[in-house]
Subunit: 189 residues, 2 copies
Amino acid sequence: MKESAAKNRILDVASRLFYEQGYNSTGINQIIEEAEIARASLYNHFPSKRDLLTSYIQRAEDIWFEELEAFVGHIKNPKKKLLALFDHRISRQLKFNFGGCRFIKVGAELPNDDLAAFELIDHQKSRLKEYIHQLLLEINPKNELLQNLEMLNETIFLLIEGATVTAGITKNPEALQSAKKIAETLLGQ
Amino acid sequence: MKESAAKNRILDVASRLFYEQGYNSTGINQIIEEAEIARASLYNHFPSKRDLLTSYIQRAEDIWFEELEAFVGHIKNPKKKLLALFDHRISRQLKFNFGGCRFIKVGAELPNDDLAAFELIDHQKSRLKEYIHQLLLEINPKNELLQNLEMLNETIFLLIEGATVTAGITKNPEALQSAKKIAETLLGQ
DNA sequence: GTCTATACGTGGATAGAC
DNA sequence: GTCTATCCACGTATAGAC
């Protein structure tokens, strides 16, 4: 059962606008106009704007990891692959004018008690952390300072998150470049 | 020349609402109602909502560092003081229901080309990083892994940022607690 | 300086024809 | 299923009396 072309067009447009302008600043009117569909068609596929948000976040996670795989999938050396995660972020931030992380951004716009939404966002984050974890298992680094893999895992994850957020504020990739260097140092040779 | 009581009441209310509900989701109407002032009084002090935002961010930075000082000012040992930065964040996130960082949050709501606003946000971040820097100079840690102070400075800063953002998503303090532990390890004994 | 009344746009969402 | 027309609440901001 294939999704209708209209539904996909709505999601494409909404994904772009939610990220570029923000969720709250993007109106239904603009979405239907740019997607070239009727107002009622949108409400046919998505009962409310909030439902569109849910679909947006879930689909964005899938696309995000597909694009990550396209970027790092060809790299065999696990350490190089891990460091390429930083390059992936740098590449994205350059491409998207340093808009920061899509998931963090939408989370910042939502009411704090919308736990369902924060769970969806957390899902992407946990998956990324697990992705790093798997790479660390392959690398099996001998780091005497950060005693165990879990601590190193957390460190690299937090470095990526912190650097992406920072890049979105400073509007330059320096924090991400520094974070990569730090990760490289922590992993040893 | 003292600021009018009305102006301060507006800023108090706006600060609370901008953080709790978001900047875009907070209307002028709610602000004037909760501040108990007339609509035109607000526009007398702030020509537009955007001007109120500017004042909000600047004042929030001042208050933020005042409150930080109140939290860690009594600590003499520089390493303990540095680690208390993490406790400060944990304490704040508990108090504010894991709303995340006030400055990052508002940045996520703004149009990406509002460079004036992002500069104000960056000001708070740079000041925090410099605060960490000064403490590191006092600690003068002998870390053989992270070769120089600047790299350690960046690491700790990014850990704090990443962990605060993460806490705002997971709605629990674990990331901040981990980040503190990591920092402690990196600083050595 | 502070008030009330109001202008005018846009928000999300629904009705009912086709 | 897709369309147009429309509802009503709320958004920011201004006018003009006091």
